[in-house]
Amino acid sequence: MKIDHSLPLEYSTEQSRLRILGFWIFLGAEIMLFATLFASYFILRNGTGDGPSGAEIFEITPVLIETLLLLTSSFTIGLAVHAMRLGNKKAMMAFFGITLVLGLAFLGVEIYEFAHYVHVGAGLQTSAFTAILLTTLGTHGAHVTFGLFWGLFILIQVKKSGLTPETTNKSFIFSLYWHFLDVVWIFIFSFVYLKGMM
């Protein structure tokens, strides 16, 4: 394995550069995945049937908490990558850990939110609107859940083998994924919640 020392550690091998570009392309595909969900959401938004509409069930407080948690976690994963580039393993792991904790908190609030929706009679089977709402949020939430496990595995590997070309590459790619989930959330926040409550 040839290591190019002029680049940050996560870019230092040919294979790691391939992985980073490949992941960016994957994110391109993810854009279309969420775009399809958004398109379906906008089309089915008024398909409330006998169920409630968005304005009737959305609550601003949990949504705001979720947004702040995710925005902050996106900031801390950025700091983790920064610390990683400084070669500071301890700080990197701390920021990475904080990111995962914030992610977990986000997930907790989202689970509360889902329980609330079901409680007020907006379950998956209620109407086309509630179904697409829960599917869109759920797809994002499933991504976060997957990210939590993935991030945990990477954190374990960093702890075990330190900042190597492999672990830094994995961490960097994880940071791309996490930032992307934040971007998706911004669109959900703006065009599902705020527009729905406007």
Partner: protein, 97 residues
């Protein structure tokens, strides 16, 4: 030490993203027309996305930046066409008629 771990650029970026979120919240707390509200949401959301992409995700830092930008922009363009086209076909056309 702390200064080193909290680079100015990223801290400013974070603060800016909080400001954008606050601006977007205006549509909830203030009365405004649909057009104004949508404009605010579109502008704040896309600036936020760009902020993440360029500042936090370092999209432009490697030798592959062209490939990265092309695939992201391509994805966004197709995404916007898909959303608008679907809405036009499935919703708006019946409202016009």
């Amino acid at each position: 030490m702390m200064k080193e771990l909290f680079p100015r650029k990223q801290v400013m970026g974070f603060v800016f993203s909080l400001v954008l979120t606050a601006v977007a919240l205006l549509v909830y707390f203030m009365d405004m027309s649909f057009a104004v509200g949508m404009t605010i949401l579109l502008v704040t959301a896309f600036i936020q996305a760009g902020l993440q992409l360029i500042l936090f995700m370092h999209a432009g830092e490697s030798e592959d930046k062209n490939a990265i930008y092309i695939s992201i922009y391509y994805g966004m363009i197709i995404a916007i066409f898909t959303i608008l086209g679907s809405l036009l076909t499935m919703v708006w056309t019946y409202q016009i008629q």
